[in-house]
């Protein structure tokens, strides 16, 4: 009975961690919809290492937490930016976690171009005290090996 209770408590605690991480990742839905740069950046650790869609290979700390750059990117979109999270899977234990998901970005750029893009996302998090923070993020699309080396921006799950 003692063992069962311990298992339940462990599971209960893991579920709470996962719920907190899911909530943190879902903040992006609101941040992109409302074009809220502060909210978009609130989940990151100060020394975050990011592998993003655009170069360079690696963005670190202040290069990621650049509010002006986020606002400038927001201004290239007409109206809200859609962000959907699908197949989210979270592993969490103690003070660390990782999560991966497929994300769909949708909207209209200011030049009228319609965007409907599926990307793959990996997030690695650490908890300091009670708060989870993203210490590593990797967002990408694959590319085609048909000789064109085009980024595969038209794939659907």
């Amino acid at each position: 009975l003692k063992k069962e209770r311990d298992d339940e408590m462990t599971q209960g605690s893991e579920t709470k961690d996962k719920a907190e991480i899911r909530a943190l990742l879902e903040e992006r839905i609101v941040a992109l919809r409302d074009k809220d740069a502060d909210l978009a950046l609130s989940g990151y650790a100060a020394d975050v290492v990011s592998f993003d869609l655009a170069p360079p290979l690696r963005h670190v700390g202040a290069q990621v937490l650049d509010k002006a750059a986020i606002e400038s990117w927001f201004s290239t979109w007409r109206g809200p930016i859609g962000w959907e999270i699908r197949d989210l899977d979270i592993a969490a234990e103690g003070g660390l976690a990782f999560a991966h998901a497929l994300n769909r970005m949708t909207g209209t750029k200011t030049d009228g171009e319609k965007i409907d893009l599926w990307v793959r996302s990996t997030a690695c998090l650490r908890r300091t005290g009670r708060k989870w923070a993203i210490v590593h993020e990797h967002t990408s699309v694959p590319f085609y090996m048909d000789g064109s080396y085009r980024a595969a921006v038209d794939l659907k799950p």
């Binding site: 290979l57 234990e93 660390l96 991966h100 690695c124 590593h136 990408s140 590319f143 085009r150």
Partner: protein, 152 residues
């Protein structure tokens, strides 16, 4: 105090174990040993690779993809890593690094490019396994083409 010390020791040894797994995996890729490469993955691995598809689910599907990738790199394999960061706690760990991948053509010219890799690990029945892996190259937003010439 003793608990804190014990916890730190556990994490340090978990990180060492992940480093050993990574070294074994690198060696398996360099020797093109697909069976050994796949031994490091969990049966239900979810992989986001740099080419062809959004995702590969399960070790069988990802193994076929690895074989196809290895067949594209001719001559001696180039597979080296830089900027490695490993974080481990208990039975969960993650790591990220930059990975130079490629081969050597018939004229002895190296053909390679730097990719970014993130990996998630779980200790399953006492052994660490890769449960998630993500390889990619960034792309040029204007041309829409993958960027292979970037240096760390």
């Amino acid at each position: 105090m003793s608990t804190v010390t014990a916890k730190k020791t556990t994490n340090a040894s978990s990180e060492t174990q992940i480093r050993e797994l990574l070294d074994g995996w690198l060696q398996a890729v360099r020797t093109r040993d697909t069976k050994r490469i796949m031994s490091f993955y969990a049966p239900d691995v979810v992989a986001y690779d740099a080419i062809v598809a959004l995702q590969f689910k399960g070790v069988e599907a990802y193994g076929k993809h690895w074989e196809m990738c290895l067949s594209m790199c001719t001559g001696p394999m180039i597979f080296e890593i830089r900027e490695l960061n490993i974080v481990a706690d208990g039975d969960v760990a993650f790591a990220h690094w930059l990975n130079r991948c490629g081969g050597t053509d018939e004229n002895g010219v190296e053909k390679s490019s730097w990719m970014r890799v993130s990996a998630g690990y779980r200790r399953i029945n006492g052994s660490w396994r890769i449960v998630h892996e993500h390889f990619s190259a960034p792309f040029d937003m204007e041309s829409g083409k993958a960027l292979f010439g970037l240096e760390p």
